[in-house]
Every structure is written in C-alpha cells, then in structure tokens.
Symmetry: C2
Subunit: 212 residues, 2 copies
Amino acid sequence: MSTPTGRRRGRPPRAAAQDGAPGTRERILDAARAEFARRGYDLAAIRAIARAADVNPALVHHYFGPKEALFAAAVGAAVEPVSRRIAGEPLAEVTELGERFTRLFLGVWESQDTREPLLAVLRSALSNETAAAIFRRHVTDLLLARLVETLPGPDAALRAELAATQLVGVALARYVLRLEPLASTDVETLARRLTPAVQLHLTGRPDAPAGA
Amino acid sequence: MSTPTGRRRGRPPRAAAQDGAPGTRERILDAARAEFARRGYDLAAIRAIARAADVNPALVHHYFGPKEALFAAAVGAAVEPVSRRIAGEPLAEVTELGERFTRLFLGVWESQDTREPLLAVLRSALSNETAAAIFRRHVTDLLLARLVETLPGPDAALRAELAATQLVGVALARYVLRLEPLASTDVETLARRLTPAVQLHLTGRPDAPAGA
C-alpha cells in the first residue's frame, strides 16, 4: 500500500532503524523468518538476521529476547492472519464445519502472503524440538482451540487434529513438494474432495446427518 | 546383530573403508542422511559426510556422484523398505484398500528404523526444490504407482495422493511436531480413525459399499 501522507513507513534509513522507528520490528521479523526458513532453527544466526534487517544484533535482542522468543514471535506473526480469519468466521452449523474449515485453510495456503510465513516456521518446527514445541503451542492455542470448542461429543481435540493433518498434508504436497496431479488440481475441485474427509473427522460422518 | 563368524561387518578400519570394503557404501549413506537431516539439502556438505563416514571425500563422489545423486540414493534407501512391504502385500479387495494402506503406512512410521530415514529425506525435500523433485519422483514411482494401478475409476492418481497426504500429515504431527492428543493416541485407535478417511479418498466411500 502506498503512503502518500508522508508518514514514515517501509524501510527507514539506518539511523532511524536503530532507535525503534516504525517498521523496524516488522523488518527484523521478516529477516528472522527468511533465516529460519533458509537455515532451519538450529543454524539460524541472530547476527545474520540483524544484518539482513540492517540493524545492530543488540537491537534484535532488545526487541525480541533470545532465539526462542524471536522464533515464537515469527510463529505468532505467521499464525495471526489465520487466527484473525477464524475469529471473523460466523459460527457455523456442525454440518458445515468441514466445508468452512477446508475452505478457510485452502484460502490461507493459496495466498503466497499468508503461505510463506507459515511455511517458514513449519520448516523450522519440523527440524528442531524447541521450534516444534513453540509451533505446536501456537497451533493448539490459536488455531485449533475455537474449532475444538465448536465440536460436539468426546475426542474433539483428536478429531480437530486429524482434520488439520489432512489439510496440512495436502498443503505440503501441493505447495512444497508439488506432487502431481495434486499441485495443478484447481482449488475448487480440491475443496470438494477434501470437505467430506474433513467433515468425517470432525463429526464422524462425511456428509450432513440424515434429517439435518 | 553380532557377527561371531568374524566376517568383516559394521565399521571397518579406515584403510578398509577407503578401498570399498563391505559396509562403506551403507556408512556413507547413513552419514549423508544424518547430514541432510541436520543441515538441510542446501547446506549439506560432502566434506562433512565424508568425515562422518570416515572416508575420503573423493570416495563419496566415486560411489554416488554429485550431491543430487547422493540425495537420490538416500531417498532410495529410505523408501526401499516401504516399497518392499508394498510389493509383499497380497492384492487387496477394493473394500480393504483403506485399511491396508493405513496400517502399512502406520507400521512404517511406528518403527524408528524405517521412520528416521524417511524423515531425514522428507525434511530436505521440504526445504529445497531439487530435493523435492527427487523425492516426489521416488514417491510417485515407488510408493504410489502400485496403489494407483489397483484403484478403479478416474482420478486414481489424485485419490491416491489425497489418501497419502492424510497419512503424511498425521505422521508429521504425531512423530515430529508431537501434537497432543494425537501423539499419545494408541496406534490401533489411530488406524481405526484414519481408515474411513483414507477409504473415502480411495473409493469415494468411507466404508465398504453396501452389498459388497
């Protein structure tokens, strides 16, 4: 978005960056995400993140604390647009949950803006135990909690996770591994194929219950 | 396994390793897998692999060629026990495919011996395009081809992939991210929960067709 009002936005000059100008925090987070994606959690270096963000390494620590906290902030930033969409969803009938959840998820992954930050933190979480612990806390608290509350019956948490793993598996195969024909299947077909499986996990039936 | 017969097995002395003793190839592959898992495909170094395998870097190249070929060999070694199990499966009725595929897959991932090599190459495939291309060729040719042949009707390849993504998603959440309650659910319960979703993808119905 352009900012014709002249307010300081985007990439400020170095001096401004050093004293906490608007955008510095975001720039550090962007750099952190890129470094976590490229080198994994273990090998990601605060020094390299600071260099990419054009700030002093001490400023990275000042804003975010140690590497774990910086990673948690990167996960939070990646998950935030998704949890905002979930919060903005009107309450769904149980019979619609599978389709709603599937379409919301595919929408998030179809857009590169929301996909790339998620992928970056997911890659780190898959290669390091500390990163995995941070990632699963965010996924459980911010992404699955509302779905779990909505589900009737026992085992709601397990059922929500089984539905989520279906969608994450598809996302990795489609957008990262680019397995064919999955990668070039149009998203509408994919939503129609996935909805019954997701609904089956969530409610025990692939379709709306008879008489509903 | 102990080798009381005195045949040369396991880790031979350095001189033996250099001239192609039995086990050298396997030791290089083990070292390669560990390096790919730890540092990812991009940052994995032939020199570090050679050091870990206690051989000259030239010998790694002599056995496997460039990094891509070494990675392909690591993928082949990881996938081989799985494709062997698939080949050993008796032909299944279509109504049993979901359960068979689910149980075979969970069996492979429950055992650390077969899980770790797969995870190592999967992690690299998720972080690098060259590695992803090698991985998907193996998955398509060695793991999904037989299932696809068995499936009736159109879209067999897409349906096999949707079923596989369900299982890979569960594997990553259970064995790597350790999402709860999924990680501590017993494998029998998991097989029962997953079978209908996998069967739904493979055949369009979560259970055996009426009258079958």
